[in-house]
Amino acid sequence: MPVITETHQNKTIDIVDNKQLSINGKPIPLIFDHDTGKWSCHLLPYTQYDDLVTLAKQIIDHSEEFN
């Protein structure tokens, strides 16, 4: 079960099995678009991303939930 851990803006990003994401231990509900192959989540409703690392960094940078 592949696990990716990164730190961004002093927040910890954990990605498990390339389909589960948590930030600072908080699980982030994800949406995967099978037609486009892109990821998104409710925290950023206007955008989609190619991979979970990019999504996670965007959440940290722009969502008020991690300020």
Binding site: D35, L43, L44, Y46, S63, E64, E65, N67
Partner: protein, 500 residues
């Protein structure tokens, strides 16, 4: 009527009025309630789905009403962000209205009425997290939608299509929202960046101007295609269909369903100018009147997504059949009586050969029926007829309420049920008509000697949630109508009339 204007055209007084009203709402805590309402409604209920447009129409309508209330100006209209003329050089971004871009490195807005120190944003729990941020053109959208792109989207029909999400095509909604095509709405959020990116995006007051522009374009699309209705009418996820209550939409004098907000003019919304190619608002789309027991009327769904409307009146309680004929697979919905947002029946294949057929007892009043094709991507001809049904069960009998008799036991057992009673008044006098029981009902009295002239109605004047009418009545035949307060409510009740 409030007129919504291009934000670039506001004079100084109008700019100050808007800013002061927004700040007043912020200080009262009400502004943040709008942020929380948007942030905490499930994303799939209000974005990437058909209800995206009606939900946000109702949302900004409520906000506009609050601006009017707190400013004391009932004619204050929400300004719209005219994207083709709304880049960083536009006057709407000056320090009298929105303030400009954020600091190049931090994104913090440092000028204007919503600058740091004067404005704080909140998270989805209502906790203040810091200043407003903007980063024009830095988050993946370097430019705003052009007039050419807008007109391209305005030519798309139908309103929406299966699978009713980001992959819907053809879909005006999906292209206006931005998941396909030139990307209009999403691009505006991303172009501003900063606080406009997350689900708490109403933290930036430009959100409301942005969605005012979105709503203006939907309004213009409706004017260009008056026979194109909201889709899906039924069969979609709950909260997305025409008569479903939308998530996160509080009760008010304006309903919470898509059908309740389809008519901008009826909501008192008017825009300063429309785009070239958009006709001025018409009184109402073409409605064909049906007469009972007349020959069938021809109908034609000429464009994909089109919805045809028919209207008829009944002078008394009647058992009727409303039916379509022909080779088209139709879907029929019946609304009324007298309230054309109140759905009382629907049918797909109850007739022959995939036609629709509704057979039921209808009380006196005016009804509307909508006809569309089962496949919103098709066109086709059909005919429709309204006729009396004297052949099936006997004509509906109206129970009689006798003055001073014991209460009659009754029950509302189906959605939208309307119970009718006749009352023969022999002597001029004062009478009390009331219901009893635990069911929340509404009582209306019609007459004398007809079922359409409303005399009085009541909701909760009786004991608990019961109805009560006290009236002076002359001799004649009267009709009492009892409905559940809730569209889908059911329950037992008693009804009685006494002389007093």
């Amino acid at each position: 009527m409030a007129i919504r204007k291009d934000a670039n055209t506001l004079n100084l007084a109008e700019q100050q009025e808007f800013v002061n009203a927004v700040h007043a709402l912020k200080q009262s805590g009400l502004y943040d309630q709008f942020v929380l309402r948007h942030a905490n409604t499930p994303m799939s209920a209000i974005h990437r789905a058909p209800a995206f447009l009606p939900w946000h129409r109702r949302f900004i309508f409520d906000f506009e009403r609050e601006l009017q209330r707190v400013s004391g100006n009932p004619n204050l209209g929400l300004p719209y962000w005219n994207w083709p003329n709304g880049d960083s050089n536009a006057s709407m971004w000056n320090d009298n209205l929105l303030g400009g871009n954020g600091n190049p490195s931090s994104g913090i807005v440092e000028t204007g009425p919503f600058r740091t120190g004067q404005w704080q944003v909140i998270n989805s729990n209502g906790v203040a997290t810091g200043p407003l941020r903007r980063q024009f053109g830095q988050s993946g959208a370097s430019s705003l939608p052009t007039l050419t792109e807008i007109n391209q989207v305005l030519n798309i029909t139908p309103y929406d299509s299966a699978p009713w999400n980001t992959n819907s095509a053809p879909s005006f909604r999906n292209q206006l929202e931005g998941w396909m095509g030139p990307n209009l709405h999403n691009r505006g959020h991303v172009w501003v960046g900063g606080s406009m990116l997350p689900m708490t995006s109403p933290n930036d007051p430009v959100f409301f101007m942005h969605h005012c522009m979105v709503d203006k374009l939907w309004h213009e699309w409706q004017l260009r295609f008056p026979n194109q209705g909201y889709l899906p009418v039924s069969g979609g996820q709950f909260g997305q269909n025409l008569t479903d209550p939308m998530a996160g939409t509080p009760n008010s004098s304006v309903g919470s369903r898509p059908i309740d907000v389809l008519d901008s003019t009826a909501l008192g919304i008017e825009y300063d100018q429309l785009l070239t190619g958009t006709p001025q608002p018409q009184p109402s789309p073409d409605i064909t009147v049906l007469s009972l027991d007349a020959s069938s009327s021809n109908g034609n769904i000429a464009a994909p997504g089109e919805i045809d409307l028919f209207e008829f009146q009944l002078d008394r309680l009647r058992q009727v059949i409303l039916e379509t004929f022909g080779d088209s697979d139709t879907l029929m919905i019946l609304f009324g009586p007298d309230d054309f947002t109140r759905e009382i029946a629907s049918n797909d294949d109850g007739g022959s050969n995939f036609n629709s057929r509704i057979s039921m007892a209808l009380s006196a009043g005016t009804y509307q029926a909508s006809i569309r094709l089962y496949d919103p991507g098709r066109t086709g001809d059909y005919s429709i007829q309204l006729r009396s049904d004297d052949t099936s069960s006997p004509a509906p009998q109206i129970p009689t309420l006798i003055v001073d008799d014991p209460a009659l036991d009754a029950e509302i057992t189906t959605d939208q049920e309307s119970d009718l009673y006749q009352i023969n008044i022999g002597t001029t006098g004062r009478y009390l008509i009331e219901t009893h029981g635990t069911t929340d009902v509404r009582l209306s009295l019609f007459g004398p000697n007809n079922q359409t002239s409303l005399i009085a109605s009541d909701d909760d004047s009786g004991a608990g949630l019961n109805s009560r009418l006290t009236l002076e009545l002359n001799p004649g035949l009267y009709y009492a109508n009892v409905r559940h307060y809730s569209t889908f409510g059911r329950g037992a009740y008693q009804i009685r009339i006494t002389s007093i």
